[in-house]
């Protein structure tokens, strides 16, 4: 029965024209990785591969009833994903390539808001490609470039061979300022292991946070690393000497309007926390691009993990707290026009 079909993972690929999406797509389609991908593109354009699993689709933003951004979906994806899922044996996963100017939120929301799509697929990760050379310019002339980074689980800073070390460090600092929770990779010609962008389980509550053990610590890192480093960095030379730099405010970096707010507290009272997160996302949903957190609930032996997109929030028990772990609640909001002081105060008021 279809109900028992394993949901097909979906990777969303964002990035400006020239950021290297096509190069990455070509690699996904042509490399020998043992998996078959259905790819939904806006235009066949540059993809020089003839493959009947490449589907061209016109981006269609559909607002529901009230015009709220949180209920906006990509109508074309609903149709194409439904069509693809009628012949499920042909591929193992789906990659959605968005146009350069696309807002990633409706794409992600489609996989939560539409019942048919949600029952057959699961969003795996949002990957943003960034052109190291042109990011500063992009940020100046558009909001979308920033949104794409803010929304991403994985940011690939591409074309690093075209910039100096200093320029690259500045680009990385900018990306970090916009999104402290994402993994960051540096590449030239989109040459990274495909496993770094595919099959990430970034929206899987059981694994998302587990994959990124430092994910909420990222804002504490100094921004002048000399190596590729994300929240998941395997290197053992993190600078844990915490150069705090105005958390909760709009980043001091020029042309960045997205803010990230990292909150910490002790164990929370579930009777206070759940109504709070519900109310916060209902009221501030339009301003929240992403949220992620690990919550210690008072009297609960399990870690509770939450993640959200605008007004959509999902939460679940993940695994028991280990003895060597501090029972600490951590939550990060990435968005615009958020009242950091109020979020901090009301979050802390949820403490048991």
């Amino acid at each position: 029965m279809s109900e028992t079909q394993t949901p097909i993972p979906v990777t969303v690929l964002t990035g400006y024209l020239g950021s290297g999406k096509t190069t990455l797509l070509n690699r996904i389609l042509s490399e020998n990785h043992g998996k078959r991908y259905a790819v939904i593109v806006n235009e066949f354009g540059e993809i020089g591969i003839d493959n009947d699993l490449i589907v061209e689709s016109d981006e269609e933003i559909y607002e529901m009833n009230n015009g709220c951004v949180c209920c906006t979906v990509r109508g074309d994806l609903i149709r194409v994903v439904e069509g693809l899922m009628r012949r499920p044996g042909r591929f193992d996963a789906i990659v959605v390539e968005t146009t350069g100017l696309a807002d990633p939120a409706p794409v992600a929301q489609t996989f939560f808001m539409d019942d048919d799509v949600r029952s057959k697929t699961k969003l795996d990760a949002v990957v943003a490609l960034v052109d190291a050379k042109h990011l500063p310019l992009r940020l100046k002339d558009s909001r979308e470039a920033e949104d794409q980074i803010a929304f991403a689980d994985v940011v690939v800073i591409n074309k690093t061979d075209l910039v100096s070390e200093d320029e690259l460090a500045a680009v990385e600092a900018t990306v970090r300022a916009i999104n402290p929770a994402a993994r960051i990779h540096h590449t030239s010609r989109a040459g990274l292991e495909l496993s770094e962008v595919l099959d990430r389980h970034a929206f899987d509550l059981q694994r998302a946070v587990e994959n990124d053990p430092h994910f909420l610590d990222a804002h504490d890192h100094e921004h002048d690393h000399d190596h590729e480093c994300g929240p998941d960095c395997d290197h053992d030379h993190h600078h844990h000497d915490h150069h705090h730099h105005g958390h909760g405010g709009v980043s001091p970096i020029h042309d960045v309007t997205v803010q990230s707010i990292s909150l910490r507290a002790g164990p929370l009272d579930p009777r206070k926390f759940f109504p709070w997160i519900e109310k916060t996302t209902q009221l501030d949903g339009p301003s929240i691009l992403r949220l992620k957190g690990i919550i210690a609930l008072d009297g609960d032996p399990d870690r509770y993990v939450v993640q959200g997109v605008h007004m959509i929030v999902e939460g679940d028990h993940q695994r028991p707290w280990r003895d060597d772990e501090a029972r600490e609640s951590r939550l990060v909001f990435i968005g615009r026009d958020l009242d950091a002081e109020k979020l901090k105060r009301t979050f802390e008021a949820c403490q048991a």
Partner: protein, 324 residues
Amino acid sequence: MPTVAPLDLDGHCVFAGFVSDIPHFALADGTIHRLDHGQETVTAHDGLLCAVVSQTGERLLTGGEDGRVAATGPDGKTQTLAEIGRKWISAVAAGPQDAVAFATGRTAYVRFSDGTIGEFQHPRTVEDVAFAPKGMRIGVARYNGATLHFPATQMKPQDLEWAGAHTAITFSPDGKFLVTAMQENALHGWKIADGKHMRMSGYPAKVKSLSWSAKGRWLASSGAPAAIVWPFQGKDGPMGKAPVELGTRGNTTVTCVACHPSDDFVAIGYGDGMVLAARIADQKEVLLRRPGKGAITAMMWDRAGRRIAFGSEAGDCGVVDLSG
């Protein structure tokens, strides 16, 4: 007692019905199977997305992932009617005088019997297309409403606006009403003469199947634990009237409906593969098929109203014979 002749196929059934009175089943993989003294199979597309019987009842019109529109006769011969690049053909409709309407992306097309093709561009995706019962007129479902075109003339299109995404479209058999299904679990209707709106909401799921009863007295719909049947006898359609609910189930949803060609009966297909028939007048039910492997995705009565062809998303198809 109704009898069921099962036909187990492999894959999502897009169309189950009768072509020249012969049961036909079209699957998403592009194969068309017919039960004509044994099972015959042809492949019409590499990936089939939509299918409908021509108005003469003698050809199956199909649109595919291969960008083709094809017509397949009961002899299994497939003719390509149109080829529109690599884009998916997402909707197909059968018109008078062998006209065929179809859609891909933001364009609706009408192919006339002489092979000429008219093109109708829209600012947004054409989600569905339907022919009006009289005259050469099509309706297009799109974002924020519907558009009526008169493909044989130079007449200006007529826009019917209603905010939201409209994903399916159908005219009432008398041509007085136009009804669309929406992304947000509702139907919307217009009285074509004066553009008066009809809101039909309250569905827990998206409406994917619509069927008019004989003479258009009722409109049956899926998307709820029961078949929701709206009364269209009055001049203002169902406004101010409650729908009839047929075949209510507690543990599954109606996924497909098909009204009998002459009597006020509705065949109802469910998410678990069960098929019932219910009479609108007294809501009396008859079980036609027990639950199967997957949700019912396609159903159609034969012209005599004696047999129902059905198919599911899992490929377990068949023909119910009521006279058996």
